[in-house]
Amino acid sequence: MSTSTAAEQVIRAGQGEALLEVKGLQRYFPVTRGIVFQRQVGAVKAVDGIDLSIHTGETLGVVGESGCGKTTTGRLVTRLDEPTGGSITFEGEDLTHLSRAKMRPFRREIQMIFQDPFSSLNPRQTIGTIIAAPFQIQKVDSEGGTKKAVQALMERVGLNPEHYNRYPHEFSGGQRQRIGVARALALRPKLIVCDEPVSALDVSIQAQIVNLLEDLQDEFNLAYLFIAHDLSVIRHISDRVAVMYLGKVVEVADRDELYNHARHPYTHALLSAVPEADPDALAHRERIRLTGDVPSPLNPPSGCRFRTRCWKAQDICAEQEPPLVQIGAPGHQAACHFPEERDVI
């Protein structure tokens, strides 16, 4: 996080047991057809075998374009969705297929913040009720009563505690996202999955929420799984970053290592495409432009999934899927047959 240096991060990432460990995670959505009896004719491989790990107090950024499976990953980790394969381990406990009841204690530890702050808040409930809901569901009594605890939370996330009895529509977009943060924070979780938490907000408000998330992380030693499509936000907030393409992690590394020494052509293309608010830098930047569209996850390309849009693709790329292997600095992995360092930003 913002207070720790990159060197400390590497040490932290390399030592001890991870808070969350995801191995070979898969989620296939079956595609069926048939007149009377439906039979499965294929599957949309939204997430197709990914490994991730997050340590206490760390932010793992997951970045990729629409359809890469990043949102599904978030839903799987919070067990809002059922994995097709692989495993999810939290503090050594296997959560992969826990029942609803057995999952309950872990719901205290893993919380979620959503993109659209409006549709994720019940319009008929007051803010006080919304933020207090986790206490009630988990039957937690806090000292001094729930109301006091809720108001303390509201104050902490920058809301006026006197607005306890107001309804969501009375708040602006940024304030609603603060409500979402307060609700997620209520039970002092260890991990918060943030799914595009700032992409619906205005630029000036976006910075407020990013700063708030950073402050809360330092204060409560939170870990974030931060899912976003905005590479600048991801660079700012993450300790480590995973780049996803068509259901696979194609590259993962410490933040600065990834942005300065990326090896995967897709990462290069992504970084090169970001319009930086810096006219002079843009004028001198190398331009990599991908052609075509992302292939359908129903029928992904053989071998390397990026090969259909990759300028370096050879025969081997269609034949063999490149494994995610260690390359460059410790903790830097890329899945490419022809990795190369390239200065793109």
């Binding site: 408000i205 910075a207 700012h236 907030i237 293309a269």
Partner: protein, 356 residues
Amino acid sequence: MTESVTTTASTSAGTGKPFLELKNLQVHFPTDDGLVKAVNGLSFTLERGKTLGIVGESGSGKSVSSLAIMGLHKGSRAKVGGEIWLDGAELVGMSVPEIRRLRGQQVAMIFQDPLSAMHPFYRVGDQLVEAYRVHNEVPKSVARKRAIDLLDRVGIPSPDKRFFDYPHQFSGGMRQRAMIAMALMCDPQLLIADEPTTALDVTVQAQILDLMMDLQKEFNSAIVIITHDLGVVAQMAQDVVVMYGGRVVEAGPVREIFYRPEMPYTWGLLGSIPRVNRGGDHRLKSIRGTPPSLINLPKGCPFQPRCDYQQHVEGHSCTGEVPDLLQIGTEDHRVRCHIETGQRKKLFTEQIKPNL
């Protein structure tokens, strides 16, 4: 309220007047809750072959202004004031049939979400053909040939087949390309792009921005690009207008705005955005509070309730008077702020720049 001086209208084109000139544009909407002052005195000029970026957050009035140029507020409750001069013709006072002849023909528009901006029931090709045949009395076959040519030009593979597809059969990027092709059907001289890439993925956004720049060179069109994304402006525009609360708060050449900004709101915007080419161990410089309500605009400077630099103002009251949009320096850099310009430069160099 505005810096622009009312001049006697000259009617002929090509007399040294700018290609597009907005003078003190105002757009107000009467509503049940009160008068929404969406745009309060917007002025700028734009030449052919150049791009102007209008930057602002939601409710800054940037989209409303673009609809005013197209005359799309006519027939609604909106009250439009001021002047819009396009190639020697004044648009605000124009009748609906007159301005309808310009729409699509001389001025075309690209919208944010190409899925909702195209009619879901009609084939993409037919929608392009329709755009051409409104203004050109040609047989369908001629219009179809032009549509296929343009679909090809904007980079849609096998355009003669995709012509027959419906919008939902296109991907997001392809739809935006088709939307651009539709806008270009009648060779417009002015293209207004309202958040053209906001709904798109970053690699697709790069393709679309490249395409727009290429097409601009080819057709020598003027582009007004409206966006909240400073990066898009940095890439596309030669001139930038920063809007806040329905007013221009700062305007000038792109490098002036990005490297020598003088208005505290512009400082706030630049400080708010994380950078992809810089390490992230600094704290984002967010702007406190929220954008103003357009019904109850703050008294005085619209940015005053969120401004952290009011103690540097001498001889004026931020809450009392609206500052004028005044030109500074030799370049056409205009700033609306009560802080004295020397002091602003000092503040920027000492306090703002090191943190950007």
